[in-house]
Each structure stands twice: as C-alpha cells, then as structure tokens.
C-alpha cells in the first residue's frame, strides 16, 4: 500500500470515528432520557404531553388541545398554527394591555 493510500485510510478512518462518536453519544443520550423517571412522572401528574415551546401564545403551548376560534381551531396540532410567528412579534402594547393593576 502506498503512502497516499495509507493517508487516505487514516482520513476515512477518522471520518468513520467521528460518525461512530456521534452515534455512540446519541445512543447514550437516548438511554439516559429513557431511564429518566421524572419526565414520565411529570406527564402522569399533569396529563398534558405538550412541550413548553411557547409561553407567549397560549394556542401554541398545548398543540394537543384544539381551541376553536384560535389558531388550532380545526384540529389538534393543526398545520400552519402560527404562519408568521417566527417572523413577527406582537406589539409590546398588546402585552401591556393584559397587565392587572
């Protein structure tokens, strides 16, 4: 085997090692998550499985719960629930209006 092929084998070996590291870390993290009891128990207590990804728009907080007249009107977890949500924030004054005095 020539020096160049040896170098190639080393480079490809390192690339394979990178991927193997990623796969091993992913498997470790998944196993850790599956073994974590607190998460499952939390959902058992509150019985709402949704992720807390939006605390500012209540219709996105629980996509599993349809809310007629709001973005998730037609079905739970409906498509296009927040078409411009990633682009446009609400005017601050709107949030201020909900302030209790």
């Amino acid at each position: 085997m020539t020096g160049r092929l040896r170098a190639l084998a080393i480079v490809l070996g390192l690339a394979a090692l990178l991927i193997a590291t990623v796969l091993a870390d992913a498997a470790r993290r998944r196993a850790a998550r599956d073994a974590e009891a607190s998460h499952r128990l939390l959902v058992r207590v509150i019985r709402l499985p949704d992720l807390a990804l939006s605390s500012s728009s209540r219709w996105l907080r629980h996509p599993s719960q349809a809310e007629p007249g709001a973005a998730l009107a037609d079905l739970p977890a409906g498509l296009d629930v927040d078409p411009a949500g990633a682009l446009i924030g609400p005017p601050r004054a709107v949030l201020e209006a909900g302030r209790s005095r």
């Binding site: 190639l8 870390d25 992913a26 058992r44 509150i46 709402l48 996509p63 977890a77």
Partner: protein
C-alpha cells in the same frame, strides 16, 4: 481490485496537488451538510420528544363548546360518562393559562389531586402540593421570579396578591415540559383560574381499550351536543404531520444554500485549469480509457464529499446537542419569554441521514464528473495543447 486501488491512489494524489481547492470545497460541503443536518436533527428530536410521552395522555379529552368557543364543562357530566361501557375512569380537570404580567408570559396552571409520594420523583426539588395553596412550579419560572422551595409565590388576583407556598420545583430533564408550569391542588387552581366549583376545563376519559375510542366518541357527542372529543390515537398522527411539515419547511429554507454551494462547486470544477486539462490529455495519450479518467474523478469527488459530509454531520450534532443550537433554538422559540434550555434526546433517523447524503453528495459527485467527462472525450493531442 489492484486497478481500482491504483485509480484511488491517483485520485488522492490529484487531491493533494490541488490541496487548497480541495480543502475549500471540502469545507464548503461540510458547512452545507452541517446547516441541513442541524435543522433535521433539531426537528427530529422535537418530534421524538413530543411522541415519547403521548401515551400518558388520556385516551379521550372531552371539551365543551359554546358559540364556537371552549367553555367550562359541568363536572356532573363526568358521572354520565362513567356509566358508558368501556369507560374505565373519568377525571374532571381544572387547568388553564394565567397571564403573568411581570414576565409578559403565560404560565400554565394545572390542578391535580395526584399527590402520591411516589410521584414526587417528578420534581427536581421538594414535593407535589398536598394541601391548601401549595404549588410546585417549573424551574425556569422559579428562576425568573427568583423563587426557591420554601418561598411564597405572589400571584396578582382581583387587585390583591395571593401568596402560594412553593413546595417543589420541576426541572432537570423535564424542563422542556415544565418551564412555565404551576401545579396546585384543584381548589387552589380553581381560585387562581376563577373556575367555579362544579365546573371543569375538560374531562379526561380513560378507556379499558383504546379500540373503543371511536364508538365512545360518537356516544359522547350524542349525549352532549357541542362536545369536542380529542382522541389520543389521532393526535399521534397529527403530531407527525405537523413536525414533518415544519421540519420540511426549515430544510426548504436551506435549499438556496445548497444550490449556491453546488453552483460554486460547478464553477470551480467546470473551469478545468490548463494543467488539469493537460493532465487528462497525457493520461489519455499513455493509454488510459475514458472510463478510467472518470473513475479517478469519481473517487476524488467521493473522498472529498464523504469526508466533508462526515465532518458536517459531526458539526451539526455538536452544534445542536452539545452547544444547545444557539441562534437556531432562539429563532424557533420566537418571542416567548419563558423558554426552556434545549435538552432533547437525539432521534437519528437512518433514512433521513441517507437522504441528506443523497441530496448533497450525489449532486457534488455529478458536478465534478461532467467537466472531466467533457475533457476526457477530447482528442488527447488537443487536450494537451489546452484546447476547449
């Protein structure tokens, strides 16, 4: 085999001779794969996290609609449902949102009777509320309000402040579900949400077998006109659809980056330099077949693209799961004030990894081979003289 090894050897030599160009293309490819990979890894992980605990939901959730809006449902209706066959348990739930002006964010208040000490393991610190105005809250909310177990949380209500002793905080791995959560006894949740005794937000129905869901749904809507029944089984599918669409959208936004990279690669590779053209001419003159020239070129592109793709995937993984996707995570969460840290378990889908490789590696190899094929089909004499 020996022939292929010799071609591979030649290809590596050619890459080495154009080290600068090879490194630039490899880095560009790694960057594009990392961009795509990060979007795919993140959306896959969020979808997997959603699906992981859907089975803890009730089989059916019964809401009541009035004038097309969700309204409170009478607890007495739960007794009616308990009489239905295949219904194992019906639990009236009191939960809802409270706009916390100080945070400019909604918190989710959930009332629950569940206080079994075995369930205290759900919390990072303390225990579940067992009496009176006690509450257990999400760690992110506690951090924002500067609260710890043992403190009292002040909630403005009707011009007054209601103080609720914090007896526990949720956190750690469950932060992604509990960031904005306030768990209280049902009576206290009623007070905070202004829900009168005898009424509930919805009814959680558990069945003896999930297969009966459709039949029971029909019977419920017959008994309570205007009821909306959410089936867990259907939900699982809609989740899948939603996140597929979202993930696809995110990946779609990155298509211009891929196109730009391929255009660049095409420009770099199609403008074969005089030296490369002469090299191909010499190879042809000393007896290489066109297929050999092309094979050497394919090996060159494959070595470059596979190495670049491996580095790109590792970069994407490190960015999402080790660094917490700074920038991307914030963009996805939008303007939420209470936002959990990204703590997701990776869900690597081999099919998606393959399609990612297919979308990047195959076109890259193709744009490298076409100009070489054009040069290889030229007359060796003309190629050596640098003719087009």
């Amino acid at each position: 085999m020996r022939r292929q090894l010799a071609l591979l050897d030649y290809a590596v030599g050619a890459l080495g001779r154009r080290a600068g160009k090879s490194a630039a293309l490899g880095a560009g490819l790694a960057f594009v794969v990392a961009l795509f990979g990060a979007a795919l890894l993140l959306t896959d992980a969020i979808r997997a996290e959603h699906e992981r605990l859907v089975e803890e939901m009730p089989d059916l959730t019964v809401q009541r609609l009035v004038a097309g809006r969700p309204a409170l449902i009478a607890e007495s209706f739960a007794d009616e449902l308990r009489g239905l066959p295949a219904v194992r348990a019906v639990e009236p739930r009191v939960w809802g949102y409270y706009f916390f002006a100080a945070l400019e964010a909604n918190v989710t208040i959930v009332g629950t009777e569940r206080a079994d000490p075995a369930l205290d393991a759900a919390l990072a610190h303390g225990r579940l509320p067992r009496e009176g105005a006690e509450v257990a809250i999400g760690e992110d909310l506690a951090d924002h309000l500067g609260l710890r177990v043992g403190d009292a949380m002040g909630i403005p209500l009707d011009g007054d402040i209601v103080f609720s002793p914090v007896v526990g905080t949720f956190g750690g791995g469950s932060a992604i579900r509990s960031a904005d959560l306030v768990v209280a006894r049902p009576a206290h949740a009623r007070r905070l949400l202004d829900v009168e005794e005898g009424w509930a937000t919805d009814l959680a129905v558990d069945l003896t077998t999930e297969d009966e869901a459709r039949v029971i749904t029909r019977r419920i809507t017959e008994r309570l006109p205007g009821a909306r029944v959410l089936e867990r089984r259907l939900l699982r599918r809609t989740y899948e659809l939603t996140f597929d669409a979202r993930g696809g959208l995110l990946a779609f936004l990155l298509v211009p980056a891929l196109a730009a990279f391929l255009l660049l690669a095409w420009e770099r590779l199609s403008g074969l330099g005089d030296a490369e053209r002469r090299e191909i001419g010499i190879l042809k003159a000393i007896g290489w077949a066109t297929a050999d020239v092309l094979a050497a070129r394919v090996y060159e592109s494959l070595v470059l693209s596979l190495t670049g793709a491996a580095v790109g995937i590792a970069l994407a993984y490190a960015y999402v799961f080790w660094l917490g996707a700074p920038g991307l995570w914030g963009a996805l969460l939008g303007w939420s004030n209470l936002r959990p840290a990204l703590d997701l378990a990776p869900a690597l889908d081999p099919l998606q990894a393959l399609s990612l490789l297919g979308a990047v590696v195959v076109p890259f190899v193709a744009v490298g081979v076409v100009p070489a094929w054009r040069a290889a089909t030229l007359d060796p004499d003309r190629a050596m003289r640098g003719a087009e």
